[in-house]
Symmetry: C2
DNA sequence: TTTAATTATGCAATCGATTGCATTTTAGTT
DNA sequence: AACTAAAATGCAATCGATTGCATAATTAAA
């Protein structure tokens, strides 16, 4: 066995003394071909070690069976869960998933989008980065009718399927819970408000405060990038104002954790002195001390839904599509960091 | 502007009254083309909204500029870090990364490998699943000279570049540390030993025990899949034997954590009564109570190295390659769960 | 049986970029 | 100006599967 060239459908055709079209159709289970020849062809193809040249087929059909996924960061539990969900569905439907991360960098996001566009992905699933405020790079896809689905960090201005969570409702319930625990002076550490999810969380917070007849002071609301250090900085700012805060609602768990750690260093007890809540249910939140109350987002499910919608759209390109926005329910996870009277929940 | 067909190099050529070959070469920065025409072509291409048909180019050149990545689970910090590293390098070199997860399922791993093979990825980076004991699906790549690089869970029997961590050394130091803390009767919760990494961790453990003149009892070594529940089960088994264990070395942090939680429920204090250590440095390990001592693996860096080696191999296919095994150093992270006299480390 | 309808197969063009080889153009030398 | 070397461009085949349309083979109906 020396290095032999790849077997093509023509080789099979020649061997069987039939035409390449018949071979092609047989291997694609085209009903035009009779059961008998189909079997015969299959057998020979197998024996000859035939492997379909996907490149040729892609070229001819102008399809790649590839779904592009653009996320801010793979290395975050929520996002990797979503990706798992996408991968789960895509894979079972014969699609390949191509993933790139923007690192919340606008330039990189743009470049990724262009690359995927040129690579002729059949569709894209996107969660935009923190810096993203303009959307030409995404409109590219729409112009060429390439299906696009947003998840989590969606863009209001673009008409497309969207899978989001009920950020407003989640934040509202978080805040309500804090109020029920007796908090009156509640601070909020939020993300950049050009992202709808953070704006919604803030609004949910404000609404709950208002409904409870509580005043919100502007200086108790801080916006940043929600990274680890941002949590510490935010707490420094809040504390420097010498306010008597009795609760903090952080827009993600990362800042909630760093806030807790820092507050503990300051000798402030959580939850006795200040209640803290996060958002997103990172895996660590359950196991910290105190465990962090948070909002659970169904990442895997969201990924599945996103992939389903996308693939459906790919398969029904001509049809007029009614774009839907799936709002996934969130689940309030009340743990130690937000309860004055901690019960043993086991 | 109605829906116009895609611009091709032929359109550009016709417009400029030159040949398509020249256009092709110009756009690919082929030095055969003069600076003047190159510029002219670039300009027109831009104006005509040309986008290269990657599918056609791939077909013609038999390359996809795609790297396939097969991992057990995306949704785990170590793996997603490695993927980030791969993505980082690959992206900067013009490669696209296609990721699939095996879920530690052999069948799925096989299917993924075949799909990637048929999709003509230019190379693959693999970390095998827990069930994987035979390797035909990977040998496929070798037979066709498609570069393959392993990371972490490598296969001894296959000759390829490998990026692994010093599991033996890491485990040795873990065990030595436990012994230095006064532990004599040390249990080990390990993974399936068909995976070299787990075998190595076990061996490192055994060697350290031996070097310290300590005896290891077989019944204190338990192998399982290292998932959350496995940790609990393992502890149950260990405890049922009514042994006076004074330390447990778990082959990952997940089981270390579940072991700690379960032991605490039993009223056993960590680290006062039993020392516990994990492996891999999951993000939660730092923030649990007690924080979990563990071994840090440079995931991101490993991903980068893997991608670098792979791409180098792709670019030098003809050359005889000396396969290397990069053993990345591990870092012992001593935290609360393994120290009898906890110092404030801040 | 002959004809019509149905089913199965074949022909040949096509997708768009790449590339070995041939040819033309330009620059350099004498 | 004539000629050679070097640089720039063009020709045309090619990659392998798909598919609209034509044709052949088979079956059913008359």
């Amino acid at each position: 066995m020396t290095k032999q060239a790849e077997t093509t459908i023509h080789d099979i055709a020649k061997y069987l003394n039939i035409s390449a079209s018949t071979v092609s159709r047989a291997l694609n289970d085209n009903p035009l071909i009779s059961e008998a020849t189909r079997k015969k062809i299959r057998k020979v193809a197998n024996e000859m070690g035939y492997r379909p040249n996907t490149l040729a087929a892609n070229f001819r059909t102008k399809r790649t069976n590839t779904i592009g996924v653009i996320v801010p960061l793979i290395n975050r539990h929520f996002f990797s869960s979503v990706i798992s969900g996408i991968e789960d569905i895509a894979y079972s439907q014969g699609y390949t998933v191509s993933i790139s991360q923007s690192n919340d960098n606008f330039q990189k996001e743009t470049k990724i989008a262009k690359t995927m566009f040129n690579n002729r992905v059949d569709g894209v699933i996107v969660s935009i980065g923190m810096e993203t405020k303009s959307f030409e790079h995404l409109e590219l896809f729409l112009e060429r009718k390439i299906p696009l689905v947003f998840f989590d960090r969606a863009v209001d201005e673009i008409n497309a399927h969207k899978i989001v969570v009920d950020d407003f409702g989640g934040a509202y319930r978080v805040t309500k819970h804090l109020i029920e625990q007796g908090a009156k002076k509640i601070a909020h550490i939020g993300g950049p408000t050009n992202l709808k999810i953070y704006e919604d969380r803030k609004q949910g917070f404000l609404k709950a405060m208002k409904d409870a007849g509580l005043k919100t002071e502007k200086k108790l609301i801080i916006h940043n990038s929600l990274r680890h250090d941002d949590g510490v900085d935010a707490i420094r700012k809040l504390m420097s104002k010498n306010q008597k805060i009795d609760a903090i609602f952080c827009a993600n768990d990362t800042t909630a954790l760093s806030a807790i750690v820092y507050l503990k260093e300051l000798g402030i007890k959580i939850p006795e002195d200040i209640l803290v809540m996060g958002f997103s249910n990172e895996p660590f939140s359950k196991v910290t001390t105190p465990s962090i109350s948070t909002v659970k987002q169904p990442g895997f499910l969201m990924g599945q839904k996103a992939a389903e919608l996308l693939i459906h759209q790919i398969n029904n390109k001509k049809a007029d599509i009614k774009y839907q926005t799936l709002v996934m329910p969130t689940e309030l996870l009340i743990r130690e960091s937000s309860q004055k009277n901690v019960l043993n929940l086991h």
